[in-house]
Symmetry: C2
Subunit: 150 residues, 2 copies
């Protein structure tokens, strides 16, 4: 599973693609971010050094990286999709109040998965759409919910 900037750029090249300044910058930002970033956030990171990279270019680079299965995107609820490097697949718990995201191993869902498959022939894809709900801090009546801007 390639995770360094050079590995990722090599993979792009190996797929017949070209290594350009925007691609270097997007891949670099993605590796540095080490987590979930939206296309908009990624564009902002890239523009620190390369102010005129277009957001559509960032989308296109992300699409290409996804096609090569180097990057994955998740829908964390309302709002834009988040992208991250393709690691071992994991599910996302998203708090609808504070927007915090917790990653949890798919293995935790083994029982439910078995049940859904047995009862409904349905194989869930936990990695691509989050499970939304409320986290501990935001349910605590005592503590104030730590609401975060979107």
């Amino acid at each position: 599973m390639p995770e360094s900037v050079d590995d990722l750029l090599d993979a792009l090249r190996a797929a017949g693609g070209r290594v350009t300044a925007p691609r270097r910058a997007v891949v670099g930002a993605l590796v540095d971010a080490k987590g979930h970033v939206t296309a908009e956030e990624l564009t902002a990171l890239v523009r620190d050094k390369h102010p005129d990279v277009a957001e559509s270019t960032v989308y296109r680079i992300l699409d290409e990286l996804e096609r090569l299965e180097l990057v994955v995107h998740v829908h964390l609820g309302h709002g834009p999709a988040s992208y991250h490097l393709a690691q071992t697949p994991h599910a996302h718990l998203v708090c609808t109040t504070c927007n915090r995201v917790v990653e949890i191993p798919i293995a935790r869902f083994a029982r439910l998965t078995r049940q859904l498959e047995t009862d409904h022939g349905f194989v869930p894809d936990y990695a691509h759409f989050a499970i939304v709900g409320r986290c501990e801090a935001c349910r605590e009546p005592a503590r104030r919910p730590r609401r975060q801007p979107r």
Copy 2:
């Protein structure tokens, strides 16, 4: 749990609202539809009889009905949200290939819910965001996936 057109209109009136032709039509269409409908689908249904009801009006009526907890909306994946009358809360399994939706009782998730709460203090809200995956028919290698237009 009010589910007849008159009950719903009464509830709107009781909340200080007014009963208008668009409201009658939207509530009627929602009751007739007996399932998940998008705002666009609902608008089309309403326009059979009342051709100049604006889609923004449908959204506003749906918002008001949700505020009164008479209607609920679900995000079934990509694409528009779906609305339905507020019945006993249920989760939605959505096939990413054929877009078919299966409703299943939240009770099925009891174990997972307990686990997520114990391990992460997280209380999932299965009713508001679907669980996506692939249904039996679409995984069958023999049968052709029955892909449906969006």
